[in-house]
């Protein structure tokens, strides 16, 4: 068994595996995914009036008073930059992290002065991907009054909307109870639009 013949086998073996595992396998999966789950395979994108307005899986940076806000995002150069996912990577002991959390707590208290309870932790800590599309139920409740005031809507109505949009734990065990911010905001817009047309 000489080394030249082994090297020849190595090259041909590598090329045939490149074709099988590197090209055929991903293409085969694409074929199946595109046919069976084409919405998911293309990014779970939702449209409104024929325009793509976002992916249900990727968070967006909501800043207006009339919308629910998502979690802080550490992506650069602007928050929720889906082209470059990133966490803050700040250690629990890093003074920068503590400063950031402090500022966020202060800001949230300023924006929702009527909310007397403690601040939900997910609204003051940045997510792993920087693209977390969800917030906890408590975080939504906290923003309830602000959104209701900005939209001149009944609080009860928005509260019901929050409850309708709550995603439970999977099999009652895995994950947390949470709310997709984009879906909730779209539902809000829909209610407001319905009202406008009614009036």
């Amino acid at each position: 068994m000489n080394i030249i013949s082994q090297a020849r086998i190595a090259i041909v073996f590598f090329i045939s595996m490149t074709i099988l595992c590197g090209l055929v396998y991903p293409s085969f999966i694409t074929l199946i995914a595109q046919n069976m789950f084409s919405w998911q395979a293309n990014g779970s994108i939702i449209e409104s009036d024929g325009k793509k307005i976002g992916s249900i899986l990727i968070g967006q940076n909501f800043t207006s008073q009339k919308y629910f806000w998502g979690r802080p995002s550490a992506t650069l150069p602007f928050p929720y930059n889906a082209e470059a996912s990133m966490g803050s990577n700040l250690a629990p002991s890093n003074p920068v992290l503590i400063e950031q959390v402090q500022e966020r707590v202060k800001y949230l208290k300023l924006e929702d002065p009527k909310y007397r309870q403690t601040i939900p932790i997910d609204l003051v800590t940045s997510s792993a991907s920087g693209l977390d599309p969800e917030i906890t139920v408590r975080a939504a409740i906290m923003q309830l009054q602000r959104v209701a005031t900005a939209r001149k809507t009944d609080e009860k109505e928005i509260y019901d909307l929050i409850m309708q949009n709550t995603i439970g734990k999977k099999f009652w065990i895995f994950g947390l109870e949470r709310i997709n911010v984009l879906q909730l905001n779209l539902a809000l817009d829909k209610i407001s639009a319905d009202k406008d047309s009614y009036e």
């Binding site: 396998y25 470059a84 990577n89 250690a91």
Partner: protein, 580 residues
């Protein structure tokens, strides 16, 4: 911690343990060349590849020939990735027109993927074209994992066979690993993941119109009205990276990214993938050496270490950061660097598992873990990546420690040490010592160098004791071919790319050659039938001894550095809490 939280760990491990026996049995059959009474050699797919590549499947190899074939394949892999990254701008399937990758980064990444490490000094969605992702990570997921499996099988044959020099045919083993084991599991995984929402397409990045445009808060005043969503063949890559221990992600944030890990179900599936094959291999080992008790003994030694470490990680993350509490937040659980659909508990279980299993994919930001968790994940790696470990490499590492345990037991009771009926001679112990001594030598020397020079220190993000943890974690992770990172450390510098690149190559091939040499020398030995004087290796006493050997060999070697990193950080964090 509530009972429901604990139940997550129980269900997770339960599913894996149920699969151990059937999968382990299947893998054993594949490498024996016969399944349900049918010769695999007669399979037309196999025959086709043998003919295509000019392989003679009947010809068995000595350990030197086996090593040569293995190294040649890995050399071709390594060169191909380097060239691919350097010329990706000229290749098809590059809708975002990604430019060529820099020299040092290409070298580092080629070493990382060929050696089954999956260390990434770049962000995937901003650096690589689709063809580069497919022909580096996806392809090497199969090839590098097959390499590890082959090394393990050669070692097992060396232990089982008597008075021979032949260890099997490398090409046959590699082909069988890919087409019977990795490819079928990867296809099932990829389809399940794409159903959950992992993307799989070859489209260009998609621009969406925001319903709430916003102004930039820093820098020039810009209004952002759109968001650009990355696309690509992600499901096929995530599937193989989870089951093959390569762990390199499509995106910068790996499995934290909602397109790579969109739901609790996908998270559970990917988490099972981390240790599915490594756990099953314990049974395969027991089956092939015809002492199933020994396989179960190894698995229980693994679980004895794994379960408490994981439990404590869960506890640490749940208890969270004492500082948050003072700032007036509702909970103090450590939500920094974690996504909600995954949650605190599953992030903690995954982090411990990925550290233990040499996989290195992450679903939360490891750098933002609590210091107690930092300690535990570092410890799990320092045990030598044998607590499950990577596919193949975890188990051959564990067999090394198993032999050390037998050797120590032999010394204690004054008998010649025997392992599975083969005498252990000075030659074998020398090989094992050469491997185990490399660990502290390289990790500690390189970490020390990085700590005292500006080129090493300038990359640190987090100040104080945590900065030391970042550097230690980087070198430990690449040395054990894990590939996860404390990503605050900026490793895309020439210094880190080169040192880390060489570390991955040296540790991987040094160990592989040593294992094959050991296999060669064990295969030549005569079988000594078990007698009343033989040491029993599948009872509780020996399990405890093995656990002690794992803990002492790994834990004690690195304990001083751990006490300067995570332990100091832990103490200072709680001290600041007490004073304020």
């Amino acid at each position: 911690m509530s009972h429901l939280d604990l139940l997550q760990l129980v269900i997770y491990l339960g599913i894996v343990l149920i699969l151990v026996k059937p999968l382990g049995w299947y893998i054993a059959q594949i490498y024996s060349g016969k399944i349900w009474g049918r010769e695999l050699l007669n399979n037309p797919i196999e025959k086709f590849f043998y003919k295509l590549c000019g392989i003679d499947p009947q010809q068995e190899m000595s350990w030197r020939e086996y090593t040569t074939a293995l190294l040649l394949l890995n050399l071709v892999s390594w060169l191909s990735i380097y060239v691919l990254f350097r010329i990706q701008a000229y290749l098809p399937l590059n809708p975002e027109a990604m430019p060529d990758v820099a020299q040092d980064l290409s070298f580092n990444s080629a070493a990382s993927f060929a050696s089954n490490t999956g260390w990434q000094a770049y962000g995937g969605e901003t650096t690589l074209s689709y063809i580069s992702q497919m022909l580096s990570i996806t392809l090497q997921g199969f090839l590098s994992a097959a390499t590890s499996m082959c090394v393990l099988m050669a070692l097992i044959r060396g232990l089982v066979r008597r008075e021979t020099t032949k260890l099997g045919n490398f090409w046959v083993d590699a082909l069988r690993s890919i087409i019977y084991i990795f490819l079928p599991i990867a296809v099932v995984y990829a389809i399940a993941l794409s159903q959950q929402g992992v993307i799989q397409n070859f489209n260009a990045y998609v621009q969406v119109n925001l319903i709430d445009p916003f102004m930039s808060t820093s820098g020039p005043n810009v209004e952002y009205t759109t968001q650009t969503l990355p696309m690509g063949p992600v499901a096929s890559l995530v599937a193989i990276k989870q089951i093959s221990s390569i762990g390199a992600g499509f995106f910068n944030t790996n499995s934290c990214h909602p397109f790579a890990n969109p739901s609790s179900v996908s998270n559970l599936l990917e988490m099972i993938g981390l240790i599915l094959i490594p756990a099953a291999l314990c049974y395969t080992f027991g089956y092939l050496i015809k002492q199933r008790g020994h396989g179960w003994m190894l698995l229980s030694a693994i679980l004895i270490i794994f379960i408490p470490c994981t439990y404590l990680t869960m506890l640490a993350e749940q208890m969270g950061n004492p500082v948050f509490d003072m700032l007036g937040t509702f909970q103090q659980s450590n939500f920094e660097g974690k996504d909600l659909r995954i949650g605190i508990i599953d992030s903690a279980i995954w982090s411990a598992t990925t550290a233990a299993s040499a996989n290195g994919s992450v679903n939360c930001m490891m750098d933002s873990l609590m210091p107690q968790s930092n300690f535990l994940v570092l410890l799990l790696m320092h045990f030598g990546e044998v607590i499950f470990g990577g596919v193949g490499c975890g188990l051959y590492g564990l067999i090394f420690l198993d032999i050390i345990a037998v050797f120590i037991a032999g010394l204690m009771i004054g008998r010649t040490p025997e392992y599975l009926g083969k005498k252990i001679d000075p030659y074998e112990m020398k090989i094992i010592s050469l491997v185990t001594l490399m660990f502290p030598l390289i990790i500690l020397l390189l970490s020390a160098y990085a700590c005292v020079t500006d080129i090493g220190r300038n990359s640190i993000l987090n100040p104080g004791a945590h900065g030391l943890s970042e550097i230690i974690y980087a070198f430990t992770s690449v040395f054990y071919n894990n590939g996860s990172a404390f990503a605050g450390l900026n490793v895309n510098t020439t210094f880190y790319n080169i040192t880390i690149g060489f570390t991955m190559l040296i540790s991987r091939y040094w160990t592989v050659i040593a294992v094959l040499a050991l296999a060669g020398s064990m295969a030549r030995k005569r079988y000594v039938p078990a007698s009343i004087a033989s040491l029993s290796t599948h009872n509780l006493t020996f399990t405890v001894l093995l656990v002690c050997v794992i803990v002492f060999m790994g834990g004690l070697t690195f304990f001083p550095t751990l006490s300067l990193g995570p332990i100091v950080e832990f103490l200072s964090l709680w001290r600041s809490y007490a004073i304020i």
